[in-house]
């Protein structure tokens, strides 16, 4: 049994969708303007059906929404999708920057100890 994908979490689907260069390209173009499936497909050497399948993944992931009017399905960017990615990464960054801060404190403290230990110090480092 595979651990993913029967009921993948939203973030799983977003990242998975973005892992394919064709889909990333579609998201890039949809950031500029909404496009029909055919327009979306035009630059790619693959079949329209293949593009449809990419669009389905993009919709399932919440990166793209689409609406059908007449025989044309128009796809547009769902900004919320990319915002989720943005937020997840921002959380990680917050964590690792906190860690680097602590490291900075440690180095500062060590330096202070060095100064008080020797008669002279060598390298002023790090802000806080």
């Amino acid at each position: 049994m595979s651990a993913q994908s029967v009921h993948a979490a939203p973030l799983d689907l977003v990242f998975l969708a973005l892992a394919d260069p064709a889909r990333r390209g579609m998201v890039e173009r949809l950031s500029r303007e909404s496009l029909s499936v055919s327009e979306l497909a035009a630059p790619y050497p693959m079949s329209l059906q293949a593009v449809m399948q990419h669009v389905q993944m993009l919709e399932a992931s919440g990166l793209v929404r689409s609406e059908k009017v007449g025989r044309v399905r128009t796809c547009s960017l769902e900004e919320a999708g990319l915002r989720k990615v943005e937020q997840w990464v921002a959380s990680r960054r917050a964590t690792w920057e906190k860690r680097l801060d602590r490291l900075g404190d440690f180095l500062l403290a060590e330096e202070a100890h060095e100064i008080s230990t020797r008669e002279k110090s060598r390298k002023p480092r790090r802000k806080r």
Copy 2:
């Protein structure tokens, strides 16, 4: 023949790596502190080998680096990996915000026109 993956672009690998909840969890914990493979594996019900394979993907994607000392391999976060994601999303955001700006201009212009032609014209159209 599949179109991806013989020589996947770096972003492909980063997003693919992050598409798995276990790997995202590892990245989260490595944001806090560096960990050995065993420590990394501890919270998961899967085998150590499975975790090793995840670590390999994380390394291949550039999200994590690791160094072996004695019999212990210590993994740490490679900040540059997440920064790539951050940058890609930021580019998309820049594009879509430009589009919304243009839309804003258009709506403003339309409103201005509406005001100047109040109680006369039916549908003002077209941009800028």
